[in-house]
C-alpha cells in the first residue's frame, strides 16, 4: 500500500458507505454517522468528504430514485470501489497489528 491519503473522517464516511450498501446517500450517511459518533455533522463536511473520495477513486456513484420529500430531486447512491475495500482492509490490518503490539510495550511504558 502506497500513500492512500485517506483522512480519518474520510475513512469513517467510507466505512459508513460500505455498511449502508444500497441506502448509502447523503442524508442517510449523515444520519448513520451522527448516531454512531453522537455528534452533529454538517452536510458540507459529509459532501466534501464524499466528493474528495470520489475523485480519489474510493467511491463510485449513480443517481437513485426521486421522492416527494426531496422536492423531486434524485438521490445519489454511493458505493465503495474494490480499491476502497482493499485499502480499508489494509488499514484495519495495520491498526490490528499495532494493537497487538501494545501489551508488549506496556511494561516498559510503566517504568517511565
Amino acid at each position: 500500500m502506497k500513500k492512500t491519503k485517506l483522512g480519518e473522517f474520510e475513512e469513517l464516511v467510507l466505512l459508513t458507505v460500505a455498511a449502508l450498501q444500497q441506502e448509502a446517500y447523503g442524508v442517510e450517511i449523515k444520519r448513520e454517522l451522527e448516531d454512531r459518533l453522537k455528534e452533529k455533522l454538517s452536510v458540507g463536511s459529509i459532501q466534501s468528504a464524499l466528493k474528495r473520495m470520489e475523485e480519489k477513486g474510493f467511491l463510485t456513484s449513480k443517481f437513485g430514485e426521486a421522492t416527494q420529500k426531496r422536492g423531486g430531486k434524485r438521490k445519489r447512491i454511493y458505493a465503495a470501489t474494490p480499491y476502497a475495500h482493499r485499502v480499508l482492509a489494509e488499514m484495519k490490518e495495520i491498526r490490528a497489528g499495532l494493537w497487538d503490539a501494545i501489551p508488549r510495550l506496556a511494561p516498559e511504558l510503566r517504568t517511565i
Binding site: 449523515k30 454538517s42 452536510v43 466534501s48 474528495r52 426521486a66
Partner: protein, 869 residues
C-alpha cells in the same frame, strides 16, 4: 399536495447555493438539503429548521464543492489578457514620453496621497494606544465667564480623594501636578519638569516599562523616568536602583531611587511625562500644599471606572461637590458644573478647554481635511492628464480597435481591454508613488516639522488604502477614455469617417480644470510665502530685539544677579517680574459690581515697561515705590476698548476681593505668537518675593556679548543650578520656522501641480502637432512664417487659457482669503497681488511649454513632414 406553503425552505439560500455550487452536484445536494429540512421541520420547529437550513447552506461553501471561479470565464480570457498586457507594454515602450507623463504624474499624485494617508493615520491614532482609553476620564469643571460656560481641565484639590470614597464604581483616581525642578546625577544637572502623580497613573495610561516595575510608584522614594530622560542622564545603561537628586527649589531637595524606565512613548500622543514621582512628595517639597483645600486647584484629576456606563450616574451626583466648592470660594471662581472627558477623545475636545494636561489636535484634524482636498485635487490633475492623452493618442489606435471589433470583440471587451491596460499603468504608478511617498514626501515633511509619524509599511490599513487608490484611480482615469474609444463602429473606423481626438470639447474642459487647480495652488504658494515674510516683519508691539531674560529661582538669586549685572556698561535697564511676555502669564478675573471679566495678568516691577519697550498711551506706569502702587493697574488698549471706558484712568474693580485702580494704559502688544488673538491684559506690581524672571535691556548690538556675560555671571553665582534663559526674540520658539514651513509646503504643492498641468499640456500639444505635421509642412511650403505657424498652434489654446485664468484667479483669491481668515488670527492684508503673480507664473510656464513645440515645427524640414507615413 400535502405540504403546505409554510413548510417550504427559505428561497434565498438556495439561489445562493445554485450560484456557487458545481452544477453536477446541485441536484443531489439540493435534494439532501430539502429532505433534511422537512425532517427537521417535523422533529424541531419550523423556525429552527429554516435556521439550520440556511446555516448548513453557508457551510456548504467548501473548495471541493464550489465552482471553479476561474472556469466561470471562457477559457480564452487568459490569453486575451495576456494579449492586452503585451499590447499595453508595447504601447508604453513605443510612446515613452506619454508613458512617462502618465506614470510620473500619477506616481507623484499617489505619493502625495500616501503621505496624506500617513498623516491622517498618525492624527487619528493619537492617544489610541491606551488600553483603558474608554474607562479613564478627566474630571473637568465649568465656570461662568460673562455668560458663557468656560471649561477648565483643573479641579479642586480634594475632589479626587472624595470621589474615590463616595463612588464604588470608581476603580482608581489619579491626581496630577506638574512642577519645575532641577535634576542632578553626578555631573548632569538640568532644569526638568516632574509629574507628581498617584500610583494609579501607570495603570490608567498604557506606558509599559522597559526596566523596573510600575507598582513601585506607591513608594514615595521612587522615581520613574521616560526613556528619553534615562538616555539623557545615563546613556544606554540601566539606571534602575541608582539614586538621583531632585531639587524642588533652592533650599530643599530629595534623593529618589530610580525604580523604572518607561519604554519609548508611541509617537502619536498628547500626554506623557519626563519624571514621575508619588503625589505625596508635595508634602515635602511644598509644606504649604493643602490636599483638602477647596480653594485650590490641582492640575488634573483622572478617574478610572469599571464600566463607562457608570459615568452618567456619577455625573448626576456631582452636585454635592459643587456646593462644597462654592461655599468655600463664595462668588469667586464658583464652579457651575462638573463634566468627565474620556481619555480616548480628550485631545479632540480640548481646543476650548483651559489649563488641561492634554494637547489639542484640532489643527491636525483641520490639516487632515486640507490634505484630503489637496490629495483629491492632485489625483484629479493626474487623472485628467491621463484622460486627455489617452483620448488624443487613441487616434493612433483606431485601426487596432477596428480589427479587434471586426474579429468579434464586443464593446464590453474593448472597455475591459482599456481598463485593464489602465490598471497596469496605475499599478506601476502606485509602486513608484509608494516609493516616492516613503522616501521623499514623508521624510521631507517630518524633517521640516521635526517630528515623526512613525509610519511603517506593515500597517494593515495601508494595504487596504493602496488597492483602493489603485482601483479608484484606474477607473476614474480609464472609464471615460474606454467608453469614448469603444463606441465607434467598425465601418466608421475603416472608412476613415471617424475623426476624433482633435476637437473634443471635453479635452479642453479637462485642461481648463487643470489650469484652474494649478492657479489655486500657485496663488496659495505665493500668498503663504508673502505672509510669512510679512509676519516676520510685523511688530510685536514692544522692543523684543534688545532684551535678554533669565529664569531666577527666587528673590535672592534675582538680587545677587542684579547687583552683578548693573555694573555692566552695556546693560541699559534691569527688571524683575513674576511673569514674562511670551513665556508665562497668569489669568485674573476683574470683578465689577454687575459683572466679571477675564484678563491675562502680568506681575512686574516698575522698570518693566522701559526694559521691554512697551509704549505708554495714557497716564503713568508704576512708580518705584512698590508700597504705594500695590493697588495700581496698567491696562492694555484692548481692555479699555472692550470695557468701553472713555476715561480709563481711575477706573476701579476688584481682583480676588482686593480693590484695584487703573493708573495707565499701554499700547497693545503680542505676548504670544500671531496665531493667538490679542487678549485684554493687565499689569500689576509683583511682590519681590515672587520674582521669577530677570529681564535686561542692552545696548543695541551688544546682545550676544551680554548674553555670554549673563551666562558667565550665572555660572559664577550658582554653579549648582543650570542657566535657563535666552533672547526675548526667541520666546516664540519655532513659530517663525513653522509659518515659513507653511510657505514651503505650499510651494511644493504648487510646483507639483504646475508640473502636472504643464506636463499634460505638453503631452496634448505634442500629440496635436504630431497629428497635424502634414498640415504644417504644407503651410511651410506655401510660405507660412513664424508668426503664422505660432498663431495656428496657439489659437486653439488662447481662449481656453483666458477662460481658465479668469475663473481661476478670483477663485484662488477667495479660497486663500478663506484659508487665511480661518487659520491665522493676524495675517497680511489679502489682495490681488498673489493671484496676479500666480497668473503671471502660469502664463510663463504655458508659453514656454507651447514654444518648445513651435520651435520644433519651425525647424522642421517640410520634406520630412510630408514624407512621413
Amino acid at each position: 399536495m400535502k405540504m403546505s406553503n409554510e413548510t417550504k425552505p427559505p428561497r434565498w439560500p438556495l439561489k445562493f447555493l445554485r450560484f456557487f455550487l458545481k452544477k453536477e452536484y446541485l441536484e443531489e445536494i439540493e435534494g439532501d438539503m430539502e429532505e433534511l429540512f422537512h425532517e427537521n421541520a417535523e422533529t424541531l420547529s419550523l423556525k429552527k429548521a429554516k435556521r439550520i437550513y440556511t446555516w448548513e447552506m453557508l457551510k456548504l461553501l467548501r473548495p471541493v464543492l464550489i465552482k471553479n471561479l476561474e472556469a466561470l470565464h471562457n477559457l480564452n480570457q487568459y490569453d486575451m489578457f495576456k494579449n492586452y498586457f503585451k499590447i499595453s507594454t508595447r504601447g508604453l515602450m513605443k510612446n515613452p514620453l506619454n508613458s512617462f507623463i502618465n506614470i510620473f504624474g500619477l506616481s507623484v499624485a499617489i505619493g502625495l496621497c500616501v503621505f496624506f494617508y500617513a498623516f491622517a493615520r498618525w492624527t487619528y491614532s493619537t492617544d489610541q494606544f491606551h488600553e483603558h482609553k474608554n474607562e479613564v476620564y478627566l474630571a473637568t469643571s465649568f465656570v461662568d465667564r460673562e455668560g458663557t460656560q468656560q471649561q477648565y481641565g483643573t479641579t479642586p484639590r480634594p475632589l479626587g480623594e472624595m470621589l474615590k470614597e463616595d463612588f464604588p464604581q470608581i476603580k482608581s483616581v489619579c491626581r496630577i501636578e506638574d512642577r519645575n525642578v532641577v535634576v542632578k546625577y553626578e555631573d548632569n544637572v538640568f532644569h526638568e519638569r516632574v509629574r507628581y502623580v498617584d500610583p494609579a497613573f501607570l495603570e490608567m495610561f498604557t506606558f509599559p516599562l522597559k526596566w523596573g516595575t510600575s507598582g513601585s510608584l506607591a513608594d514615595v522614594n521612587s522615581i520613574i523616568l521616560s526613556e528619553k530622560m534615562s538616555t539623557k542622564y545615563f546613556g544606554d545603561q540601566n539606571p534602575v536602583g541608582l539614586d538621583i537628586l531632585v531639587k524642588f527649589n533652592k533650599d530643599s531637595g530629595k534623593v529618589f531611587k530610580i525604580t523604572g524606565v518607561a519604554r519609548e512613548f508611541p509617537k502619536a500622543r498628547t500626554i506623557d511625562f519626563s519624571f514621575l514621582i508619588n503625589v505625596e512628595n508635595l508634602r515635602t517639597s511644598e509644606p504649604a500644599y493643602n490636599f483638602h483645600d477647596w480653594h485650590d486647584l490641582v492640575n488634573a484629576t483622572l478617574i478610572q471606572v469599571e464600566n463607562p456606563n457608570d459615568i452618567s450616574a456619577i455625573k448626576g451626583r456631582m452636585g454635592k461637590y459643587k456646593h462644597l466648592q462654592n461655599e468655600a470660594v463664595k462668588a469667586d471662581q464658583a464652579i457651575s458644573s462638573f463634566a468627565f472627558e474620556p481619555l480616548a477623545t480628550l485631545h479632540e475636545r480640548t481646543e476650548n478647554m483651559r489649563d488641561h494636561i492634554s494637547r489639542s489636535t484640532r489643527s491636525d484634524y483641520i490639516t487632515v481635511i486640507y490634505f484630503s482636498v489637496i490629495g483629491v485635487f492632485m489625483l484629479t490633475l493626474a487623472c485628467l492628464n491621463y484622460i486627455n492623452i489617452a483620448i488624443v493618442s487613441a487616434t493612433k489606435r483606431l485601426k487596432e480597435i477596428g480589427v479587434r471589433k471586426s474579429i468579434g470583440a464586443k464593446r464590453g471587451t474593448v472597455i475591459v481591454q482599456f481598463l485593464s491596460e489602465n490598471m497596469v499603468i496605475t499599478f506601476f504608478a502606485v509602486v513608484v508613488g509608494l516609493i516616492l511617498g516613503l522616501t521623499v514626501f514623508i521624510p521631507g515633511f517630518e524633517n521640516m516639522w521635526h517630528f515623526s509619524m512613525g509610519f511603517r509599511l506593515n500597517d494593515m490599513t495601508l494595504w487596504i488604502f493602496l488597492p483602493a487608490v489603485l482601483l479608484f484611480t484606474s477607473i476614474a482615469s480609464g472609464i471615460y477614455p474606454s467608453l469614448y474609444i469603444s463606441k465607434f463602429t467598425v465601418v466608421g473606423i475603416f472608412k476613415g469617417s471617424v475623426q476624433f481626438g482633435r476637437k473634443n470639447p471635453l479635452t479642453k474642459t479637462f485642461l481648463g480644470i487643470q489650469l484652474v487647480l494649478s492657479c489655486i495652488f500657485l496663488t496659495s504658494a505665493v500668498m503663504f510665502t508673502q505672509n510669512s515674510s510679512y509676519l516676520a516683519k510685523r511688530s510685536w508691539g514692544y522692543n523684543q530685539q534688545q532684551v535678554l531674560y533669565a529664569v531666577v529661582p527666587d528673590q535672592f538669586a534675582y538680587e545677587e544677579l542684579h547687583a552683578l549685572l548693573i555694573q555692566e556698561p552695556d546693560v541699559l535697564s534691569i527688571s524683575g517680574s513674576r511673569d514674562q511676555l511670551g513665556k508665562s502669564n497668569t489669568g485674573a478675573v476683574l470683578q465689577f459690581p454687575d459683572r466679571e471679566f477675564e484678563v491675562d495678568q502680568f506681575a512686574v516691577d516698575a522698570n518693566y515697561f522701559e526694559t521691554m519697550g512697551i509704549p505708554i498711551l495714557k497716564g503713568r506706569v508704576f512708580k518705584d515705590h512698590e508700597g504705594s502702587d500695590r493697588q495700581a493697574i496698567v491696562a492694555n488698549e484692548l481692555l479699555v476698548k472692550n470695557m468701553g471706558w472713555e476715561h480709563p484712568i481711575g477706573q476701579q474693580f476688584k481682583i480676588a476681593g482686593v480693590q484695584y485702580e487703573v493708573v495707565g494704559v499701554v499700547k497693545n502688544f503680542h505676548h504670544s505668537d500671531f496665531y493667538t488673538p490679542l487678549h485684554p491684559t493687565i499689569f500689576n506690581i509683583a511682590g519681590k518675593t515672587d520674582y521669577r524672571y530677570l529681564s535686561i535691556k542692552v545696548r543695541s548690538g551688544s546682545e550676544i556679548k551680554t548674553y555670554k556675560t549673563l551666562q558667565a555671571k550665572w555660572a559664577q553665582l550658582f554653579p549648582e543650578v543650570p542657566f535657563d534663559g535666552g533672547f526675548q526674540e526667541d520666546v516664540w520658539g519655532n513659530y517663525f520656522q513653522e509659518i515659513g514651513n507653511h510657505g514651503k509646503v505650499w510651494i511644493t504643492f504648487a510646483f507639483i501641480a504646475v508640473c502636472l498641468a504643464s506636463l499634460g499640456l505638453y503631452g496634448l500639444i505634442t500629440l496635436n502637432v504630431a497629428a497635424r505635421i502634414k498640415e504644417f509642412s504644407i503651410r511651410k511650403v506655401l510660405g507660412a512664417d513664424v508668426k503664422n505657424i505660432t498663431s495656428v498652434i496657439t489659437n486653439q489654446y488662447v481662449i481656453l487659457f483666458g477662460v481658465a485664468l479668469i475663473i481661476g484667479a478670483p477663485l484662488s483669491y477667495l479660497l486663500v482669503k478663506l484659508v487665511f481668515d480661518s487659520s491665522f488670527a493676524y495675517h497680511m492684508p489679502v489682495d490681488f497681488s498673489g493671484a496676479v503673480i500666480a497668473v503671471a507664473i502660469l502664463i510663463l510656464v504655458l508659453v514656454f511649454t507651447i514654444s518648445t513645440q513651435i520651435k520644433k515645427v519651425i525647424k522642421l524640414n517640410p520634406v520630412d513632414g510630408l514624407k512621413a507615413d
